[in-house]
Symmetry: C2
Subunit: 334 residues, 2 copies
């Protein structure tokens, strides 16, 4: 491997001069003549700077950590949401001269280790980390950007979407199409978060219109399979005519189950999803879904992180992107 020392020796200058040239932007700190000569030499010798050495000496790694939760039931990037999000992050960060290291973490202690070991300059968290958020921040005093957080911790950097409005839009759309008995399905937990907000927006809008969303038509996917949910819906007394699910991933599983159970969407049951994946367009019927701008979300997360790195004492920033309903063919007019 070619080092600064090697180049310095061949050029007859000190390491420092070479270092200055390699780092560019030294504006007038090196004479142009020598700068050019050294650049050419470095190029010719195939010099590639050693990032570890740079990182150690400069105490700046140029590494950004992308932190995903390790779902032990398989591949965290099998989910289109995560993979698209991560894809954009890598693209933007690379362009800004940062390297992206991806970490799957099981629990809290993994996070500290991952971030500190390579002295990451910042981290973006994909997925919900609210329950450990305070601890994460306490132990990792570097720029951190969270996504979809509904944590009470103040002054965190976060980018999320208007989940409540998403639920409102779904409800209004069902109402405008004459539905008067509805159901909801998602991975419900006890914590305030994207799921509970989407449900709240949905339920409250229906309540205002005096439309039913009975307790037993709120299905928790943590406990029940799509098949179980569908058969419960279809055999209900006041059979719901529409189902709102909290992701297109879930919606596609509902399609699969409905197909196997010979339930027709939207004739037997109307469906609204969430995310607006490209997939939605090619399903039959094409899926009506609440759109969120994943690419924009990732870009904003990067933007906040980069600004926070440049200016650590900038005030905590939380951005909330808008959502909209994309009308397709999975909701029947009753």
């Amino acid at each position: 491997m070619v080092t600064l020392k090697d180049i310095a020796a061949r050029a007859g200058v000190s390491m420092m001069t070479v270092s200055r040239v390699m780092n560019g932007n030294q504006e007038g700190k090196v004479s142009e003549a020598t700068a050019e000569r050294i650049s050419a030499l470095a190029n010719e010798m195939g010099y590639v700077p050693n990032s570890s050495a740079r990182s150690l000496a400069a105490r700046s790694s140029r590494i950004i950590a992308a932190v995903l939760r390790n779902t032990d039931d398989g591949n965290p990037l099998a989910d289109p949401y995560s993979s698209m999000f991560l894809g954009i992050i890598i693209q933007i960060m690379r362009q800004k001269g940062y390297y992206v290291m991806v970490h799957y973490v099981q629990d809290y202690s993994d996070i500290t280790f991952s971030l500190q070991s390579w002295r990451a300059e910042g981290a973006i968290f994909l997925g919900v980390f609210d329950s450990e958020l305070r601890k994460i921040r306490n132990e990792n005093r570097m720029p951190l950007v969270f996504t979809d957080s509904y944590s009470n911790v103040r002054q965190i950097d976060n980018v999320g979407i208007d989940d409540y409005k998403g639920g409102v839009l779904a409800a209004k759309y069902f109402l405008s199409h004459g539905h008067r008995s509805l159901a909801f399905a998602g991975p419900i937990s006890n914590f305030k978060g994207v799921i509970s907000e989407r449900l709240a927006g949905f339920a409250e809008t229906l309540a205002q219109a005096e439309t039913e969303l009975p307790e037993n038509q709120i299905y928790n996917l943590v406990h029940q399979s799509p098949e179980a949910i569908l058969s419960s819906i279809m055999s209900s007394e006041h059979r719901p005519t529409g189902l709102f699910v909290t992701s297109d991933q879930i919606a596609s599983e509902i399609y699969g189950a409905a197909h196997r159970m010979d339930i027709s969407i939207p004739d037997d049951l109307s469906l609204i999803g969430f995310d607006d994946f490209p997939l939605d367009r090619i399903l039959t019927p094409a899926l009506t879904s609440v759109h969120q701008d994943i690419t924009g979300k990732a870009a904003r997360a990067c933007d906040i992180l980069l600004r926070r790195i440049a200016q650590p004492d900038m005030p905590g920033e939380s951005q909330t992107l808008d959502v909209k309903l994309i009308e397709r063919e999975s909701v029947k007019y009753i």
Copy 2:
């Protein structure tokens, strides 16, 4: 940040002793009593080793590079194939104590820089790099594992699938269902590779059965849109009854186009895809597809790379995974 020195000072031993304890596996090189004492101390002080320093001193980074081609039309991880593959790599490598840095490369020089700068211990290439393969190897003398390579360069480590057989299986399936006029669509190039092999297997099997695959029914997606292809097929003289496409991604675009153009699959046109994505099951009609084991492929790529790192002079290893046809509902019996 806590350093070895800090711990050494508090423990009243030398840095070397602490270093030995932190690296474990020093079997009898440190007395058990001090080892335990130091471990406890390190834990209590919240010690996290500095990977840059380690990397620099030990000349071993524990970093694996995952190299993807930067498709400037967008997000390299929007493709389910790449994201699932990458997801598995990260999971396995993390478990083996390696860190994964993801690199999108535009061209050849990007690769060298990416791999050398952090002194990656090895790299896995996702996508086709055949045209630059020789140069990549010459300039980067570390363990490299390629995927889906049909390069003539000898002794490379590669993991691929039996693409030719995939084409054969699709052809045979169409034939067994009474189809006698067929079409093919994929991103065709002049190079020998996965696409040309799938086409060859398909075309040669049809030729043996004296079944048509006329030149003008071999569509190049680089030049034509799914819509254009469908309208060309539908207006052909000897109208093909079946279409074989080289990925499920493409198949899903065909579904979309067919839907818009009011062409029924499989009634107007039968379709076979390639990859067997989870998505296939929820399309209507469910997509018949040639299955490849992406998870297994990724696991094997990791396995080869890890063995090559441990044993650099092991002979070049090329693994070819089997494929099989998954029968669903997108091919009509004629």
